[in-house]
Symmetry: C2
Subunit: 340 residues, 2 copies
C-alpha cells in the first residue's frame, strides 16, 4: 500500500524525458514508427517497456475523435436467441477493430433509452438496437447525436433506421401454412409478451391473418422453457385438446414438448408442434423440432458489418432482409383422417 495510490501512470512526457527526445517523437513511435530513426525508435521503445507506459485511451480519443466503441441494446442475454446474435456481432466487430458494449433492456423502452444515453456518454460511435419500437427519448437521442444505428431482428425498408433482419410476418406465415397443409384445425398459438416487443406482435398479427379465427387460440407466456410449460398448461386447461401447437419461440417449444411428454401426449402422433427460431438445440429435442429458421448468426455478422462500414467509411447501409425458411423435422405430421 506504500506507493500504491501514489504511483501515477507514466505519460508521454515522462517517456520523452526518459528517452531524451521530444513528445512528438514518442508519439511517432506509437503511431507512425516508419518515420522514426531505427536507433531512436529502439531507445524509445525500450523506455516505454521499462516504464510500462500505456497510452491514455481518453487522450487518444479526444484527438482522433474515435473511441472504437460500439453499443448493442438487446432485450436479454439469458436466451440463446440473442446470445447467438451478440456473439457473432462481437466476433465480427473485433475484426474491424471495434469493442462492443452490451446493454440489456428487458424489452423496456424507458430502460433502453436510459442505457442508450449512458452509452452515448461513454462515447460509442454506433449502435445496434433490437426491433423497431423505441421510446421517443431514444429516437430523439439518435437524431441529436447522429450516431449511426442499425436495427436488427425486424426487416422494414421504410423504417427511418437501416434494418438488418428477417420478415417476422413471413416466418409466422410459413409455420401457419405448414400446419394448414397438414390439415390442422385446432391450433394453440403460444407467444411471448407483446408490449415492447414488435417482433412478437408482427408474428401474432400474421398468424391471425393466416389462420381463421375459429382455428386458433392465443396464449401468452414468458419466453423461456418454463414459460412454455406454463402457457401450454393454460392452453390445454382452457380450450381442450388441440391438434397442433405453434410456438413463437423455440425455447417455449422446448417447454411445450416437455410438458406434452409429461402429460402422455404423443408428438407428432397426437399433436404437431411447430416453432420459430431453429436454435442449435432444436435439432436434438425429442422429437426433433420442426421450426422456422431465423439466421441469428448471419444477422449478427451482417449487422456488425454494416455498422462498422457506416462508422468507418460513412456509408449508410441499405436495409437487408435475410432469408427465413421452414425446417421440417419430426415434431409435425399430417392429420391422418378426420376421425371426428
Amino acid at each position: 500500500m506504500a506507493r500504491g495510490s501514489k504511483k501515477k501512470r507514466p505519460n508521454l512526457r515522462d517517456v520523452s524525458r526518459a528517452a531524451d527526445v521530444s513528445v512528438a517523437t514518442v508519439s511517432r513511435v506509437l503511431n507512425t514508427p516508419q518515420v522514426v530513426n531505427k536507433d531512436t525508435r529502439a531507445r524509445v521503445e525500450a523506455v516505454i517497456e521499462e516504464l510500462g507506459f500505456v497510452r491514455s485511451a481518453a487522450a487518444f480519443a479526444i484527438n482522433s475523435g474515435r473511441t472504437r466503441l460500439l453499443g448493442a441494446l438487446i432485450p436479454t442475454l439469458e436466451s440463446d436467441i440473442f446470445s447467438l446474435t451478440i456473439s457473432s456481432i462481437e466476433q465480427t466487430l473485433v475484426d474491424h477493430g471495434f469493442s462492443l458494449i452490451v446493454a440489456t433492456t428487458d424489452d423496456d423502452p424507458e430502460k433502453e433509452a436510459r442505457k442508450a444515453k449512458e452509452l452515448v456518454d461513454v462515447g460509442v460511435e454506433g449502435f445496434i438496437v433490437t426491433g423497431l419500437e423505441h421510446s421517443d427519448a431514444l429516437h430523439d437521442l439518435l437524431r441529436r447525436t447522429q450516431v449511426p444505428t442499425v436495427a436488427i431482428s425486424y426487416f422494414d425498408e421504410t423504417y427511418h433506421l437501416p434494418t438488418v433482419g428477417y420478415d417476422n410476418r413471413m416466418a409466422a406465415r410459413a409455420a401457419c401454412q405448414h400446419l394448414k397443409d397438414l390439415g390442422h384445425k385446432r391450433i394453440a398459438v403460444i407467444h411471448g409478451a407483446l408490449t415492447g416487443n414488435d417482433r412478437n406482435v408482427a408474428r401474432v398479427e400474421a398468424t391471425r391473418a393466416a389462420l381463421s379465427a375459429e382455428q386458433c387460440w392465443f396464449f401468452e407466456g414468458a419466453i423461456s422453457v418454463a414459460g412454455g410449460v406454463d402457457a401450454l398448461r393454460r392452453a390445454v386447461a382452457d380450450h381442450g385438446p388441440f391438434d397442433a401447437i405453434f410456438c413463437m419461440s423455440d425455447v417455449m417449444a422446448f417447454g411445450v414438448l416437455h410438458e406434452l411428454h409429461r402429460m402422455g401426449v404423443s408428438v407428432p402422433g397426437d399433436v404437431s408442434v411447430v416453432s420459430i427460431h431453429n436454435l442449435p438445440a432444436s435439432e436434438f429435442t425429442y422429437p426433433p423440432l420442426t421450426t422456422v429458421n431465423l439466421p441469428a448468426r448471419q444477422m449478427g455478422r451482417c449487422a456488425a458489418e454494416c455498422l462498422a462500414r457506416w462508422v468507418e467509411d460513412d456509408i449508410r447501409p441499405t436495409p437487408i432482409c435475410l432469408d427465413t425458411h421452414l425446417v421440417v423435422r419430426s415434431s409435425t405430421q399430417a392429420v391422418p383422417k378426420r376421425t371426428g
Copy 2:
C-alpha cells in the same frame, strides 16, 4: 448553418458563446448545477438543448481519469453457461454506473491476451476473466497496468487475483458420490476440451480421484448439444454399455439424453445421467436432469459487486467461494440389484 456539411458537433465553447457565459459556467451547469444562478442555468440549459450539445466522453475521461468502462473476458457467449453470468454481471454493473465490454476468447489464451490489450487501450478500469489459466502476456499486462481484475468460475484463495467462483473439484465429487451411492460401476465421463480450460481439468481430475480407474471411461467432445450426442456415440461404440453417464456440462447432457432416447435406452431405467450446471432448461428435459447446481447468476452478481467496489473504493476483494449442491431429479436411480 453557414457551412452545412461541416456539421461539427458543438463543444463547450460553442455553448458558452451562444449563452454568453464562460466555459466554466457551462461546465458548472453540467456538473454542479446548484451553484449556478437559476436564470443563468436556465439560459445555458436552453442553449444546450437547442444546439444538441453532448459532452465529450473522452474529454471527461481525460480529466476525471474515469471511463466507467469494465471488460469481461469469457470463453463464449454461445452457451447459457456464460450468458447467464454475463447477463447478471451487466445488470449489476449498471447499478454501479459502469458499462460492460464483452470479449470472447474461445478458451484461447493468446486471443484472450490480445483482446485484453485492446480493452486496456480502450480504457477499461477493471476486468473480469474466466478461470485461472492465462497467458504470460495477460499476467504481464495486468501487472503493468495494475487494472483491478477478478477471476470467475474457479475458486482458489491462493491465486494472485481475487477469485469469485465455486469449487469445481467438489462439484465433480458430488456427482461422483451420487453415482457411487446409487451403485453405479460402469460410468462414461463426458467432458469438454481440456486445453485452455482449467475448470474442465479440475472436474476431470476430481473425477479420476473419486472413481476407481476400472469404473470410468473418459470421452471428450465440444461443449454443445451436438458435442454431447457425438461423445455419447463414441462412448457407446468404444466401450459398450454403461450404467451411468456423467456429463461435465448440462448442454452436453441434453445431447446425451436425446441420443439415448433415440437409441431406445431408457433413462434412468437403463442408465443414469448426471451432470454439472443446472441450467434453467435442465428442469424440463425428459426426464428432468439430476445435476450439480452452479450458481451462475449469483457468481455474476458477486463478481460484478466485488469489481465495482474495487474500482470505486479501492477495496481489493477477498476470494469468494459459492455453494454448489447436487439437485436430484429423475435422470438418476439406483442400480436395482446386480443382475450380472
